[in-house]
């Protein structure tokens, strides 16, 4: 790793003041915030970024909020292991509990924070290779578009085809979470769904609206509406320890033999957590049968635009959707 200055502020304003003043690509490497370090240190070890200063958030007051369910408030420094182990979260916000537990390894969950997990950078192997000047690093080309794109997007791609790597993001968008960020001009709050940006909308070198001098403060999740349950099905190529190849976050209210309402967000298929709105509408009021699950899966994937090597994500995600619906209907998931 290249050497850097390590700043250890104690207040949010002090931390923000230590972050870059300017907004250009040259300034962004002046300073970066450090939370659990599980992603940023790997980026630095790979020389994808070489910040002159790291602003360690560990000692910053106000990032450690923790209010357990049903109305959930999670400071951005909340460790994933804590979320995964909280029985209240498992009870009321099951999709989040499962998503947090599915991240990486025990060791990483003990150290990784929720804020870091939501702001982690893509895993696309072109991006992660120092010698490839890809569009995510300010280059001109997305090498994955016509290259080895097995793990890339089938929705929302272009000009970059990364998939968002965060499991918690998918689950939290499902659960209608709100995020609070703070910058030099103070605090602002927004639905988490709006926090993430498609490469065609926001800056292609970022995955969200957070600016270089802003810090993610906390995430709030409303208590679940009566009768709703949720789940998160993550498909890993290697069960022990892997990022998702595809994931389905699903919540539903099932009344007797009918799916009254449902909400569905797909993970690892798009540059952002991908809301399956048409499938949601379709499911509302449908009989809870395998035929319905299958049709919902078809609808959810109908608009997919696979690249050369990731066509399998279509049947895979369809399979996961059916499994998730089966699970919420009381059948087993695996």
């Amino acid at each position: 790793m290249k050497s850097f200055e390590l700043a250890r502020p104690t207040s949010l304003d002090e931390a923000i003041d230590l972050l870059p003043k300017g907004r250009g690509p040259a300034e962004i490497d002046d300073a970066r915030p450090l939370a659990g370090g599980q992603d940023i240190l790997t980026e630095m070890k790979d020389y994808l970024i070489t910040p002159k200063r790291l602003v360690d958030l560990a000692g910053v007051a106000g990032l450690d909020a923790y209010q357990s369910a049903p109305d959930l408030v999670l400071g951005s420094l909340t460790r994933l292991a804590r979320i995964a182990a909280d029985p209240q979260i498992a009870l009321h916000h099951r999709a989040l509990s499962i998503a947090a537990e599915s991240v990486a390894s025990v060791q990483i969950r003990n150290q990784a924070t929720l804020g870091g997990n939501l702001c982690q950078r893509p895993r696309c192997w072109y991006y992660r290779n120092e010698s490839v000047p890809c569009i995510k690093k300010g280059g001109a080309e997305c090498f994955a578009e016509s290259g080895l794109n097995k793990y890339n997007a089938i929705f929302g791609g272009g000009p970059s085809y990364i998939v968002h790597p965060s499991d918690c993001a998918t689950a939290l968008v499902l659960l209608d979470a709100t995020v609070t960020k703070r910058g030099p001009r103070g605090e602002s709050r927004m639905p988490l769904e709006q926090f993430f940006t498609l490469p065609s909308e926001g800056s292609v070198v970022r995955e969200n609206v957070l600016k270089a001098n802003e810090i993610l403060v906390q995430v709030e999740v409303p208590a679940p509406k009566p009768g709703w349950t949720s789940t998160y099905l993550k498909f890993k190529e290697r069960e022990s320890f892997d990022f998702a190849m595809s994931a389905v976050a699903l919540s539903a209210r099932i009344e007797g033999d009918t799916i009254a309402e449902a909400r569905m967000v797909l993970g690892a298929v798009a540059p952002i957590p991908w809301r399956a709105g048409e499938a949601e509408s379709f499911l509302a009021g449908k009989p809870n049968t395998h035929a319905t699950w299958k049709e919902a899966a078809e609808i959810a994937l109908a608009q997919a635009e696979p690249l050369e090597h990731n066509g399998y994500k279509v049947p895979l995600t369809k399979g996961l959707i059916q499994k998730a619906l089966r699970e919420l209907s009381g059948g087993e998931s695996k």
Binding site: S3, W125, S131, F143, R238, Y312, P315, G319
Partner: protein
Amino acid sequence: MTSQDNGTPSWGARADHRVLNKDTRRLSGPEKVKGEAIYSIDRHVPDMLYGKLVCIPVAKAEFTVDVDPAMEIEGVVIAIPLREGSTLYNGQAVAAVAAETPELAEDGARAVVVNYTPQGFVVTAESAKAPGAPQVSSRSPNHAPRGGSNDKGRGDMDATMEALDASDFVVEAEFDVAIQHHACLETHGLLADFKGGDEATIYASTQVAFGIPGSAAGPLGLDRQNVRCVVEHMGGGFGAKFSMDVAGRAACLMAAEVGRPVSMFNDRRQEFETSGNRSGSIQRIKAGVAKDGEILAMHSDMDKLGGVGRGPGAVQPYIYNVLESFTLDYALHTNTDSSRAMRAPGHPQVSFAMESVVDMLAYGIGADLVEIRKRNLSDPAYHRQLDRVAQEIGWNEHQHRTAPGKGDGWIAEGIGFGVSTWGGGGGPGAAAEVRIERDGGVTSSIGVQDLGTGVRTLVAMIPAEEFGLQASDVLPRIGDTQLPNGVGSGGSVTTASVAPCLKDASHKTRLAFAEHLASVLKCEAKDVTFADGKVFAKSAPDRGLTWKDACATLPAEGLARTGKWIGDLQTSGAHGAQAARVQVDLMTGAVKVLKMVAVQDSGLVLNPLTWRSQVNGAMIQSIGLALYEGRVMEPDLGIQINANLGDYKLPGCMEIPELVAIVDDEDTRQAVIGVGEPPAIPGAGAIANAIHNACGARITSLPITPDKVLEALAKLS
């Protein structure tokens, strides 16, 4: 009291063994569990520098290198170019730097300026064979017979084609095996402990300690006999660590130049890019079978993907009897580093294709998968081993015995089989010394390294058996070229090469000790008996000496004998069969291995505990080859795109099924055989077959990842 035979040394009857053939804890265990075992990468000596290689980030290039900018960094002590002119593959080292800390060495390496002009390259099989493809090197065409330009293939092509025509059922398929990596957790490298003067010690992570002095002497500018190599503990080899590699050479060159010790180990990316891979292969096979199950014909056209190397020699029809076969064996070169030996070089690749073909033929004629194998394998060892694995895996109760599952529903289960062979014999050249001290201490010495296989423990077990002691009573000394000659650990030769020397040395020492004790015990030397920590005259077992008291009668210098290799104490020819039971998730394409069974013969098993480790480990590495592992080369950029342990997926705990490793106890050979390679061969074929058996999807490309399963399932429906 097996070892009390006074004639030529023999292992004696198995029933008489007290130490050998019994589960014996590794003698390195206590220091390893405490974290006290020092691997070469852990070794630190005063005044030591850390080295770092500068590697070129393109597949093929003309280049110039300027190391001077590195020297401007404070703490960088030396920077040297390693080669000039051109490189052939991505990651090839062109310069090296040594500095006071690893971080400074890295800063230095990054400061070296490499100006390169990329040249046309090919890094995939497809591009290597394309018309007008750039030549990998000027030495040979990209696609050339491995045996040289006169090699027109093995077997009778016309007879094979006729036999294919005469077959009742014929299959044709292409099998692709991805390149697997050794991925040793301790990367390649060494510490060259040289402080000027005439001598140096090399602490290396190597499979051939005795090869290092010869390689290091040149770059160090020393005489070979003044260079010592020490390998106290080693973090894995699997065939990748037979030379000191460029990191080792660079460390020696820099140590010589500055007169300070240099430690240089690959980083993980270098380990992937340049320091160990098992060759891939593409095998186009056409085979035919008669209704009665006899395989009549097989035509194989094989391309070995050995990078700039030629790849290994194993060919079809592997170990099956095929009436007429014809095989073309080609090297298909690419601009990637050469493949290296890896646990049974060449065998897992051909085994995977052959076992797949056998199943395809069996289903074609409605034959039982076990019976068709027995029909085409003549050695009775395979027959009994296949029956045993079939029984253990539950074949007779299985529902898909002559036709695969249909691939409908949510989940499916299947079973597959495979068989293997390997030599496993040893050879002369090694020597051992066994020494008894007056205080009762016993030292057993041989310079051989322990890769993790458990050789260290054998080195103590063999004299312990001979003297009626426990393994923990003997101090094993290994991994040092100042000890008697060891042997390179590759091809499963270690046990069969060193155990006979240890046996001979133990035997001679015991005879000499018996001679000495005859007068003490007032009996003839041949009647001196060693058992259970005591020494006594055969006729008077109640009136003997304790081992310690007996040793106290020795002269001050103790007693020592050296032993040499005795061919009769070892043999070769290992056979094994494996079965796998898998579950296929038809919705996601996920494959989970539920159980694997291996029945393996390997002569006399000296330590069943470490034997099981080897066999279990081999099965798990097969799971990796079958389902998870594969180098991914970027065809346009010429680089490996998954050169890290996140994107290159090794099996972890969750991928481990129930594993059953069974010694074939009908093998009564009173001789030792190595077992490193044989169990690493048949697993991938067995798993691929089990997947097909479960759901009818025949996947002919390794690793069998979920995307391939889903694609194959889609084609079925």
